[in-house]
């Protein structure tokens, strides 16, 4: 019994292939989270301070990106790219779409963090002669970060797993690479088990990192 359980046709080459897929997953996650966080930071800052006539439309557009299933966004964007003749690879399209999707959530994370800073605290900073920018950098962001970090970590972990959907437009990332192997080895449970473990290994350090930061900050509360 034990013999057959470990008797697999999975080769070292297959594992290498999946490792490459994992590399693509990390790469997409990195670009999507980086781009999405920068865009989300700017939009969140805008939403926390912009007048309603600007705030409303931004919020509406972001709501669209948050509400339409990511899979549909990937497929539509990929087709749209061909229609307007953009010479982007599926990988680039995937990164851009996922970055915008990330930004639409990150905006709210940032906004909630900034609005959690009491206006009176900001007023105190300004009363000391600090400029708007200094108030943001020295007072608002550090306080907002403590509020926003857990949500941002959650968002990042979500994005990491959402990268699997990019396989629909032909990008071979971790999940897709495993499915290719499954079609040959016919050992879906075993392979998916490995892939699941791989996702966990990728996500766990991020999760731990967030928890450690939180614990360090909590010491001061």
């Amino acid at each position: 019994m034990m013999q057959t359980f470990f008797d697999t046709s999975l080769t070292l080459n297959d594992l290498r292939f999946m490792l490459k897929g994992a590399g693509v997953t990390i790469s997409i996650t990195f670009w999507a989270v980086l781009g999405g966080s920068i865009l989300g930071l700017l939009l969140g800052l805008g939403r926390a301070s912009a007048p309603w006539w600007l705030n409303g439309p931004i919020g509406f557009v972001l709501d669209i990106f948050r509400s339409v299933p990511l899979l549909i966004q990937f497929v539509l964007a990929n087709s749209f790219k061909s229609i307007i003749g953009l010479n982007w690879s599926a990988f680039t399209v995937g990164c851009v779409v996922l970055a915008i999707y990330t930004a639409s959530f990150c905006t709210e994370v940032v906004r909630a963090g900034i609005l959690a800073v009491p206006p009176t605290t900001r007023r105190a900073a300004r009363s000391l002669g600090m400029t708007w920018a200094q108030d943001l950098k020295e007072v608002v962001f550090p306080i907002a970060l403590r509020v926003a970090l857990p949500n941002w970590i959650g968002l990042t972990l979500g994005v990491m797993k959402d990268t699997a959907l990019i396989s629909w437009i032909g990008v071979v990332e971790l999940l897709r690479s495993s499915q290719i192997i499954v079609t040959r080895t016919q050992e879906p449970l075993f392979v998916l088990g490995i892939v699941g473990l791989a996702y966990f290994v990728l996500c766990f350090p991020i999760s731990r990192f967030g928890a450690r930061l939180e614990a360090r900050w909590r010491e001061n509360d």
């Binding site: 009363s127 000391l128 001061n220």
Partner: protein
């Protein structure tokens, strides 16, 4: 010198200040008293430009606070303000709270800023709490830290907005002692307060605010012992 001339202030439809005029001389301690909503706290926020005004003029050492050309960030360096909610920066230690503006606004070196901050914190009796975070401090200690933070900028004027109102009764004394000390050192102060005995003791003049106007202005003896207006007398009777 702070010159307030016929200042009007609206919060949308609410007419909070209805033509306030007042001069505060260098070295003077002026208390503003009156019921809630009488406009005294709003007046304070207008003096360092935290709130815009819709009419009149406020000048601090001949600088028009609300003129477009005025660099408010620069002006605020010489006007310290302490608020009802002590407004500590929660992510910084007590020492860092006081050092922040010294470094970022006045551009002092780390060593210089630290020396000034330590001195000011000792001055208000927090020499033992330098490395503590604000959340570990009592309300009274946090408020004294806020005072040290404002004083560290060596302001020419200090504004106090009901600085004891949010404190437990047993902590009020230590903060009032700090204010008393400042007044004895010759600091120019405008103090919005509900502590009538304190106002009487430290003030050179007392302004009684009512419905967005200075209803009566005079020495503590005049205001507290022989108010000329019946509303002043009514107010004092209600709070004493």
């Amino acid at each position: 010198m702070i010159e307030i001339e016929n200042v009007h202030k609206h919060f949308s439809t609410l007419h909070v200040l209805r033509g306030v005029s007042l001069n505060v001389q260098k070295g003077e301690v002026l208390s503003m008293v009156g019921g809630s909503g009488s406009g005294k706290s709003t007046m304070l926020m207008c003096i360092n430009g935290l709130e815009p005004i819709q009419g009149g003029r406020i000048r601090v050492d001949s600088t028009d606070v609300h003129a477009k050309s005025t660099d408010l960030n620069k002006l605020r360096r010489k006007i310290g303000i302490v608020f009802q909610q002590w407004n500590a920066f929660p992510h910084l230690t007590v020492l860092e709270n006081v050092m922040l503006a010294l470094r970022k606004v006045l551009g002092k070196s780390k060593a210089e800023a630290e020396a000034i901050a330590v001195e000011q914190l000792k001055h208000v009796g927090l020499g033992e709490k330098l490395k503590a975070f604000p959340s570990r401090l009592s309300g009274g200690q946090q408020q004294r830290m806020a005072i040290a933070r404002a004083l560290a900028m060596s302001p020419d004027y200090m504004l106090f907005d009901e600085v004891t109102s949010a404190l437990d009764p047993q902590l009020v004394g230590e903060v009032l002692d700090t204010l008393r000390m400042l007044s004895q050192e010759g600091m120019t102060m405008i103090v919005v307060t509900h502590e009538m005995r304190f106002a009487r003791e430290v003030s050179d003049r007392v302004a009684f605010f009512r419905e967005g106007l200075i209803h009566e202005l005079g020495t503590p003896e005049q205001i507290f012992d022989s108010p000329q207006r019946s509303e002043t007398a009514d107010f004092l009777r209600s709070v004493l």
